[in-house]
Symmetry: C2
Subunit: 103 residues, 2 copies
């Protein structure tokens, strides 16, 4: 029962997010991501996530959360340092770029 309530909450809170960024502009910004996330969003170091083909909405939400310090644990501090200088537009563009790559 508890799980059903949690699930209902998850689904009610889920708002679709649509990619609105410029993938070509995102590709230019993605140079800063290559060392950990691979040249095409596919990593060689398995402790980091692949980004190629990931949902733009999720990527944008995550990058904003790192920037705002809303995430902790894992590589959150490092991610915050990397994304702190990005504008909202940069973040949208990066999300659109990685979502556009075939995984």
């Amino acid at each position: 029962m508890k799980r059903i309530i949690i699930l209902a909450g998850v689904l009610l809170c889920a708002q679709p997010v649509f990619a609105k960024g410029d993938a070509a502009a995102g590709e230019q910004k993605a140079m800063m991501c290559v060392a950990c996330h691979g040249a095409t969003g596919k990593v060689s170091v398995p402790m980091y996530p692949n980004l190629a083909g990931q949902n733009a909405g999720y990527l944008e939400h995550s990058l904003q959360a790192y920037k705002k310090g809303e995430r902790s644990g894992g590589q959150a501090e490092i991610m915050k340092a990397y994304v702190s200088g990005l504008s909202d537009e940069d973040i949208s563009n990066l999300a659109a770029y990685y979502a556009s790559i075939k995984p």
Copy 2:
């Protein structure tokens, strides 16, 4: 310069993690993940991440971090509730299963 130091730290800390789980056993456990992460690890709600083809090492590390409460922000509390009953073996198996799915 700061970025170079951060990058060096990231690379030095990166330890390869190899999948050791049983994907078939993981598939059985994955029923609990379907509502948010899709029947085959590809989501229909863009605010959640696709899991199909993600690195097993990253998935395992993330699930352990959720279970231990080492992550906050985003859906961390919900993820903690979902994975709190999973054993280390369950987590390895789930990671192996999602890593095995073609994205």
